[in-house]
Amino acid sequence: MEEFPQPAALVEGGALEVGNGLLMLLREAMEPLPPDAVVAVRASHPTVAHDLPAWCRVMAHTYMGAASGPDGTVYYFRKSPFLPIATEERPDWGVRMPRRDNGELHTRDWMVGRVEAVPDRATTTTGFAPRGAVVEQGAPAFDFTINERSAVWAAEVADLYEQATANQWDASRDIPWDRLEPLPEPLERAVCQLMTFLTENEYSALYVPAKFVPRINPQFNEVVMFLCTQMMDESRHIEAFTKRALANGGGLQYSAASTQLSLKTLFDQHDFTSASFLLSVLGEGTFLDLLRFIETHAPDPVTAEICRRARVDETRHVHFGMAHMRYYLAQDPANYEHLERAVRERAAFMQSVTEVSPRVQEALAILAAGGLNADRLPEGLAKVRALVSEMHEHRMRRLLAAGFSAEQAVEISRLHTPNFM
């Protein structure tokens, strides 16, 4: 009888055939073996005598022969010298994310093993493979254009994503729609005008990140995932604000050409960091003050609650924008000029816009005055003026926190669109 070398692995195939499971046992056993290792497989089914050598031939394993014994036939072959997957790297095994004390498993805690290695520069050939997976070489290049970590990253992004998923709400059920009572017409009209304005701004806040998501390399998946929560938030805000305009006998009101111009210059941004700066730090940051103003002066509990919930969401977006600016500016303080230029160029495009649409200003004043009440209108208008200067102050504070100097902050805040967003 022919003598075979001592095999590196002996697979007990029982009555399995090549087509119904034997190959799965073989692959598992062969995975850790080096090239040219001798593999033995004991199998009793007669078809194995034909199918195993044929499989060896097409897979470039060297079939060596078989030996019959009392426990069945043992087939021998030498493992192919070629890599089954074109890579020398091996995947992680044995990693374990830590659980929080309450048993929860948080996204920020998944930085274990290979996942932790966020590349400073990602290659486009890792495609849709999750960061941490072993990617076979020879995969096609994808058209991702944002491959630099500094162009999108924020240290706190996983925390913010965690907060976002935990704080999703339902605009159909979580708002006390049944507490909506008829309002005097000027007040209802003011609310409807503001809802129209908020909605158009929310569209831009949805479309801007949406435009960048397919361009960001999935190696920066926390950013992509966070932006998706942002898009969902904006979608819900669009829903809630539109519903409020339609729910109480009024309807959607005017959309000013100047507002559209302002929003279009935002949507036309081609650089993620510039867009994030203009949208999240300056625009949404300014919106926090606007939403608080409407919430404070809302003539009904529904409007107040929608604005409160939207403000909580927007705060997260502002935090992401600021965290990204901190990361971006920390890479190179000279990056400041890039951001300043973006603000300046946008301002140059909309020199005709000197103030927020008069209808929006008036609506805010009517809300602050509690109605179209001659006695209280001057006070309402004063509150709107106070709001605008408060917006400027808060913008400066956020710019300082994001890593800008006091001088830079003043200049940028001054150049920000009077349209708020």
């Binding site: 090549v18 005598a49 199918d51 050598p53 499989w55 031939r57 097409v58 192919s80 070629f82 020879g138």
Partner: protein, 277 residues
Amino acid sequence: MDRPILIGAVAYDQRVVPIWEGMRDYFREAGMPIDYVLYSNYDRQVEALLDRQIDIAWNTNLAWLKVCRRTDNRCRALAMRDVDADFKTVFVARTDSGIQSLADIHGKRLALGSADSGQAAILPIEFLREAGVDAERECRVSRFNLDVGKHGDTGTSELEVLRALRDGEADAGAMADSTWIRQVTEGRVDPTQVRAIWTSPGYCHCNFTVLEDFPEEVGRNWTGTLLTMTYDNPRWRELMDLEGLKRWLEATPEVMKGYDSLWEAVERQGLTRNWPS
């Protein structure tokens, strides 16, 4: 040679184009540019080689024999795929047919592939004869003469053989072991219904054929360049997967003995009568 070496191949499938575009890239990068011409059938390609319209023909075993015969053996093979050196035919049978050996096929319904397929028609007749079965007289033979001229390359006739077995139209059939094992591993075969019952000895399949006066040194260089293509380089892995090989082999005299069995089968079956001489 002061021009790119021109290689002929038969367009038996759409994937032939990416294969040869890849080959062209490979040889250009290796500093030995080639170009290729596609033919619709092997007879056309053999004529082109004989007329010196191409330098090298990527031939099936049957096309190789035709060149040998037409040139009175004044030709040689340079290289082949690893899978071409020890090619095999399997006979498969329905489990309910009672067939367990080639001899059992006597009197049964036998499905064969295209008449010009070495692996699925010509050699199977020969293997049965060696086992004492005169298939043409003693079996009810169904032939699936699809894509004639492409020498069984498309594999469609072999899949028809398998379908005939599955549908109960035949008791046994023959095909390349590589076709069979792909169907098995991809889960397209119910092992309780159809299974392999016999595997042939190895024989040779395709090779790169040149005429006798193709310069020795150019041939050596070309073969040497081809043999350095490695499956572990992701750049060429796709091409090699499409062509179904893991490495290229030199066509040594020892390896070339693998064409003897087809020669004998072709002679015995009188197929050369229809070949131009």
